[in-house]
């Protein structure tokens, strides 16, 4: 082995990173070549000296990083609530907060630290979970994309005690043809109860699915005053809208105006074209068809 080949391997020899055959060759050379042997000692010295140069950052980035990656959580009733900047970011039901950390990080890219939730948020969550409804929920939609933003905003406009269809939400959110995509957004709602995704049902009747199960959805709706049994009965008859013979207006069956129609004046419609052809106009409150 030549000196120049040996010199570049002295350092690797030091940390035993040479293949056995190379190691033998280098060691053999060092025994016979005095100048290379001295170099070895010098490399050792220099390497030893360089270690003293390691630096400590003047300020640890720990706090700054943490501020940028951490949100807070608290227990409210039976739910875990994650919040940041005075707004709710996620409501979840789980035995342990540890079950929520990963989905939360996936969605928001942030970790959760325990903290005390502001009283206003706590009241909102308790009211929403308790079925009292929330007027203007403090929900953080900053991380939502345009579609999610529009859909979740639309959901907050569905009044307590009423239900709307996925198609209706899609239309109101300005994406009438994207019903499936809108339904997916509703299914991924991070703040159930407060943003009332449980008030959305399939156009075909029935009450559909829910993150906490259909039974919970049914119970939630019944608690809010929705007559779920009647909805089921109407669905069996394929009735989607209720009209009034006196005003010639038709509504969703759960619309507060539809509930005021007297039994003798109620007229069921299977689809909106049927109603429109008979000279009925859509209700301005529940907007069963596009205005």
């Amino acid at each position: 082995m030549q000196c120049r080949n040996v010199l570049t391997r002295i350092d690797a020899l030091r940390t035993r990173e040479l293949a056995p055959i190379e190691k033998t060759a280098v060691e053999q050379h060092l025994r016979t070549c005095r100048s290379c042997d001295e170099s070895q000692a010098d490399v050792d010295d220099l390497v030893h000296a360089v270690k003293s140069l390691s630096l400590v950052p003047p300020v640890s980035c720990r706090d700054a990083v943490k501020e940028n990656i951490a949100d807070s959580f608290d227990r409210v009733g039976d739910t875990w609530v994650a919040f940041a900047n005075g707004r709710i970011r996620m409501i979840a039901e789980a035995d342990s907060i540890d079950d929520i950390r990963q989905p939360y990080a996936k969605k928001y890219g942030r970790v959760l630290e325990p903290a005390t939730i502001p009283a206003a948020l706590r009241r909102q969550v308790l009211a929403a979970v308790g079925g009292e409804g929330v007027e203007s929920p403090k929900v953080d939609l900053d991380a939502a994309n345009d579609l999610e933003h529009d859909v979740l905003q639309t959901l907050t406009r569905i009044p307590r005690g009423e239900v709307r269809t996925y198609a209706w939400v899609a239309r109101q959110a300005g994406r009438p043809r994207a019903v499936r995509a809108v339904a997916n957004v509703i299914a991924r709602n991070a703040v159930p109860y407060v943003v009332p995704c449980h008030r959305v049902v399939p156009s075909s009747g029935g009450i559909g699915n829910y993150i906490f199960g259909s039974a919970t959805k049914r119970a939630l709706l019944e608690r809010e005053g929705v007559d779920v049994d009647e909805l089921d009965a109407l669905a069996k008859e394929h009735v989607r809208y209720i009209g009034s013979r006196t005003t010639h207006i038709f509504c969703f069956p759960t619309c507060r105006d539809a509930k005021r129609i007297q039994e003798k004046n109620r007229i069921p419609f299977r689809d909106s074209d049927d109603a429109l052809e008979n000279g009925y106009r859509p209700c301005r409150h529940c907007q069963p068809v596009a205005a």
Partner: protein, 207 residues
């Protein structure tokens, strides 16, 4: 790696840090305190490295913080668990810092290399061994630091990775994107440059 000179024997790798994959997975799973552990463990070496490239504490700190946030995002949102488990965390973090440093350097290239004239070496004595008084030690460290500042940036970064961070050649190859054989030569030349820089101050190394 095939090496014609040795007949192509595979070089034995020193074991990677055993828990680095576990730490990445812990961060991925958002285990409480996992990311703090990562920061505590890597902040100082990453800062030393960034400072080695940039020669500026403020910029180095900014880069390290940025790298930490990127690492967190990647580990929690972008990589799945299998990828985190297979990740060589240390070279990956160093590579992130390296890329950010090079971006920063590119944006302010001019004033980085310290000119020779800025060295006043009148009061610095010759390089003595590490077993000296505190004062001697301080001077010697200062001398080394100045000598380091004289080196080209790629030599500096290799000295940091190899001798301060004590990375294996395999890890350095992953970090800077080169081969082990090429790096052996580069590391030796970097040491030689450092020796030359020290020699200007009257410290002689044979090599």
């Amino acid at each position: 790696m095939k090496n014609s000179w040795t007949g192509g024997e595979v070089v034995a790798q020193p074991a990677a840090q055993p828990d680095s994959g576990e730490l990445a997975v812990a961060v991925h799973r958002c285990e409480p305190g996992a990311f703090e552990r990562l920061i505590d463990r890597f902040e100082q070496p990453l800062f030393t490295y960034a400072h080695g490239i940039l020669q500026n504490a403020f910029d180095a700190q900014e880069v390290v913080q940025d790298a930490m946030m990127r690492a967190h995002k990647a580990l929690t949102r972008q990589y799945d668990e299998a990828r985190c488990a297979a990740l060589a965390l240390r070279p990956w973090l160093f590579k992130t810092v390296r890329n950010l440093c090079l971006n920063k350097r590119r944006s302010k290239r001019s004033s980085l290399e310290q000119p020779l004239e800025s060295f006043d070496d009148g009061r610095l004595g010759p390089f003595v061994s590490l077993e000296g008084s505190d004062l001697e030690r301080k001077e010697e460290v200062e001398l080394l630091r100045r000598a380091m500042a004289l080196l080209p940036v790629d030599a500096r970064e290799l000295i940091v990775l190899r001798f301060m961070e004590e990375m294996s050649y395999a890890e350095i190859a992953k970090t800077v994107g080169s081969t082990e054989a090429a790096l052996r030569g580069k590391v030796f030349r970097s040491l030689k440059l450092l020796r030359d820089a020290l020699e200007q101050k009257g410290v002689a190394y044979a090599m």
